[in-house]
Amino acid sequence: MRVLAALLLLLAALPARAEEVVLGLSQSNVSITTDFDGSDILIFGAVKREIAIQQDPPLQVIVTVEGPLEPVTVWRKARKLGIWVNAEAVEVDSAPGFYAVATSAPWNQSISAVEDLRHKVSIPRAIRSVGAPMDIMDSEAFTEALIRVRERQGLYKVEEESVDLRESTLFDTSISMPANISEGRYLTRVFLTRAGRVVAVHESEIQVGKVGLERWLFTLSRQMPLAYGLLSLAIAALAGWGASALFRAIRSA
């Protein structure tokens, strides 16, 4: 009897343990090969629980995939002497090269603003910008531009109601990565929320990297740039001479 009471107390003390995410990924590696043209990643999983499903408030699922963080300079053009030139710059300290958010419900039903701030779920929260130079009053415009440009390139996206959740237990979604993604570790997070509050988080990683010829050429260009440069010249010289010889042979034949 005392053991049971202790167990109950433990369950009450750790509400986050009540529901847990068991995650599956269609692939934990994305290989950039010569014919790489983007990739779709299937993210699926189940909610593990030891208690009966609580129906109210309903369970919601948010999935995020975040590329490597890097600093970005955002330039704004202005007209000077009639022509458009880069006039002002804001350094964004760290912004993910890729960021996708998928939710099972409309955004405002999925997560509250406070929880978004704490867990950095939405795109503006995922970007960290410490400050702009003193003479720039509207630094938010620069961050907005960063998001706008990357959304147009397919690098940032919010897909509401694209997570399929069945019986508050099984969920799946598909995140498409464009061909212009960068290499590195991609953090995958799954949030379970109720009434906008995060009740469980699960993190996992996807490795994106070049393989084969792509890997070899990239490594050579960074580690032995002179050899790489000479190789590219040798190929150019060979191709130039080869075509000339070939055409001469065709003409004389």
């Binding site: 950039i32 014919d35 043209d37 890097e70 009639g82 061909a179 050429l217 150019a236 191709a239």
Partner: protein
Amino acid sequence: MQIYLPIAEVSVNVFLLFGLGGMVGILSGMFGVGGGFLITPLLFFMGIPPAVAVATGANQIVASSISGVLAHFKRKTVDLRMGLVLLAGGLIGAALGVWIFNLLKSMGQVDLLVRLCYVVFLGIIGGLMFVESLNAIFKSRKGAAPKRRHHGWVHGLPFKMRFRTSGLYISAIPPVLVGFAVGVLAAIMGVGGGFIMVPAMIYLLGMPTKVVVGTSLFQIIFVSAFTTLLHATTNYTVDILLALVLILGGVIGAQIGTAFGTRLKAEQLRIALASLVLLVCGKLALDLFITPSELYELVSR
């Protein structure tokens, strides 16, 4: 069919790239220009990062120029001596050009510099060539013999050299200076510089048009090879895969272009090149003055 470029880190259509290389190759063979002034902006439009487009363009120019110059060697229309003198200036100029390029890149203004260079030089040269060629055509229609140009001040300079193939006996200083100026611009603009050198050789040095094309191709090979190496070792921006596809299209195009070029009259050739130069210049100038649809630009390191 898409191909992923390892250095540019983008995926592009192979056939589009191949066609672009082929088109520029035809121009290269016809006019003796490397075609870089077309290939670099067109690569921008395809979404290739500007730094990669500039460096890889230089590599592609090496191949198409070699292919073109071999055809000119066969017809003995290359002035080797003049080519070497131009080259001496060109190598020094290219080194300075890459240095300026990297300096402005760190200041975030390299895009503007490149565009301004294009507009100014394409505009001046295209305009001059167009007017001159029109005049020449009208004169030959009237039946008057084309006047041989003489440059008093060029003939007054020291270090005179005899350039037999060109039929010239002039000082080495103007060719070295021409080579140097073209070298600087070539490195900054990511072009071979043929479109500047060809008119400079005709109007400044007074070389015969037939020799000009082969000789400028000869000089361009080495200057752009040097530029390629500088970009590969300082910026790591030469993309071999991108260059290879462009080259395959380019070398084939260059052979076709050389065959075309021999069938056209010198004046027609010049007026065609002038129109093309003016067209590219107009497009680039428009982009500088029209309000862009996106006022912001991202630069990641």
